[in-house]
């Protein structure tokens, strides 16, 4: 994974693991024990994630706080729904993704979602 991609992933992990929205400084502090990072780099990464729509920005007392738009479990479930071909547009076998075996096809999305949520709770 490229350096930037890896950093984006680790920043997201911090936001997911935190109980509340974090400031840039807080994210920076949580990441720096393991690596040497500039404050501005963390700021850039959070900005990029916000532009991609996976992180939202909240203004509170002169500082921006960041939080993940979806929990890790929600995002995983959404991803799997897309991966299993149950996307709302019924994108059946349009070659966007190639499955190792038996795509579920335009399956009943409700059934699949229930199954995934159950699976997420049990894991």
């Amino acid at each position: 994974m490229s350096g930037l991609g890896e950093l984006e992933r680790d920043v997201m992990t911090q936001l997911w693991d935190a109980a509340e929205p974090l400031t840039v400084r807080q994210v920076h502090e949580r990441l720096t024990p393991e690596r040497d990072l500039a404050y501005t780099t963390v700021m850039t990464v959070l900005d990029r994630l916000a532009k991609k729509g996976v992180v939202s920005q909240q203004r509170s007392d002169r500082a921006y706080r960041y939080l993940a738009v979806q929990t890790r479990e929600e995002m995983t479930a959404a991803l799997m729904l897309d991966a299993l071909g149950a996307a709302p547009d019924g994108a059946a076998r349009d070659a966007a993704l190639v499955h190792f075996v038996g795509q579920v096809g335009p399956a009943d999305a409700a059934a699949l979602r229930a199954a995934l949520e159950a699976a997420a709770r049990n894991s």
Partner: protein, 325 residues
């Protein structure tokens, strides 16, 4: 007589031949050649349709002996219709490519963020030290008990596994799955599928047939299976197919919610596909054959070349001298 003959040939290539080809068992033995044959048959049927559009009005006019002005207008009309057919195909291809790219970009963003770094070391340690490794830059492992594996083709490809897959599959089975996915990515099977999807979507709904789409999809899976079999042997691949194939179906059945009829049909299709793939991996199954491969390639070339030589060239020889423009 060119237009009726081309029309008959086109109907045969788009209705009868695909049905026969989809039901035949030999393509599974030479999947690469069979994919080329499907491409040639499909391209030839499109060319026949364009040929009919061009030849029919010209032949009718020649038979009626109409004047030069009428002939010129009719020719302009036919050219416009032919151009419309070709551009509809190209636009459909652009649209399919664009949609795939948008969906993949979004999907890639999410798998990159959800990747669990800690599983990578686990997987790495479980594989034999000598076993070939997948490029760690392309592998993503997600949380989740549901076992699944797929790949995200394109210029920045990804192979995606779930944590559940690593739990239910033995290391050599995981290796077979990874080799299978990499074969898809390296040979750009997505481009082949996209061209067939584009044609499917370009046709008016009553004329659409999934025959070619489904058959080519299965053949591409078989090609990737062959790559995995060469590296890991048939055994681990067969076991991985059996284990992963049942997982999603079982999960849906567990919820007790009935899937709709369309999903049922899709489930049966994927079930049949898995059976076909397992069948050719069984010990003693009829395998690759050079003569069969050569015959399939010869057939593919002749499907494209013969109609041109026998029908189109003689028609052009007659039609061009009376070109009205």
């Amino acid at each position: 007589m060119t237009a009726p003959l081309l029309g008959a040939l086109g109907l045969m290539l788009s209705l009868i031949v695909p049905k026969a080809l989809a039901q035949a068992h030999w393509p599974a033995r030479v999947p690469a050649a069979a994919v080329v044959l499907w491409q040639c048959v499909t391209l030839a049927s499109v060319l026949c349709a364009v040929g009919v559009v061009l030849a029919a009005p010209e032949e009718t006019l020649r038979a009626l002996g109409s004047g030069r002005v009428v002939a010129a207008w009719v020719l302009l009309g036919t050219l416009a219709v032919a151009a419309a057919i070709v551009s509809r195909l190209l636009l459909s291809l652009l649209e399919v490519t664009r949609r795939s790219r948008v969906r993949r970009d979004r999907h890639r963003l999410l798998v990159d963020l959800l990747d669990r770094a800690e599983y990578h070391g686990e997987l790495d340690r479980s594989l034999d030290p000598g076993a070939p490794r997948i490029d760690p830059g392309t592998l993503r492992i997600l949380d989740g008990a549901l076992p699944f594996a797929y790949c995200l083709p394109g210029r920045s490809p990804r192979v995606v596994l779930s944590g559940g897959t690593l739990k239910v599959l033995a290391p050599e089975q995981v290796n077979a799955v990874l080799t299978h996915e990499q074969a898809h990515l390296r040979s750009r099977h997505d481009l082949v599928m996209e061209s067939f999807s584009a044609l499917y979507r370009a046709l008016p709904a009553p004329l659409r047939r999934r025959t070619a789409l489904d058959a080519v999809h299965l053949l591409l899976e078989m090609l990737a299976d062959d790559a995995a079999r060469r590296r890991s042997g048939a055994g681990p691949l067969r076991e991985a197919l059996t284990t992963l194939g049942g997982a999603a179906d079982a999960l849906i059945a567990d919820t007790g919610l009935a899937a709709d009829a369309e999903a049922d049909a899709a489930g049966r299709d994927s079930e049949a596909e898995r059976r076909d793939r397992l069948e050719r991996l069984r010990p003693g199954a009829p395998g690759f054959s050079v003569p069969l491969q050569l015959s399939a390639y010869a057939l593919a070339v002749s499907v494209l070349v013969l109609p041109t030589v026998v029908l189109v060239v003689p028609w052009l020889a007659q039609a061009l001298p009376t070109w009205p423009l």
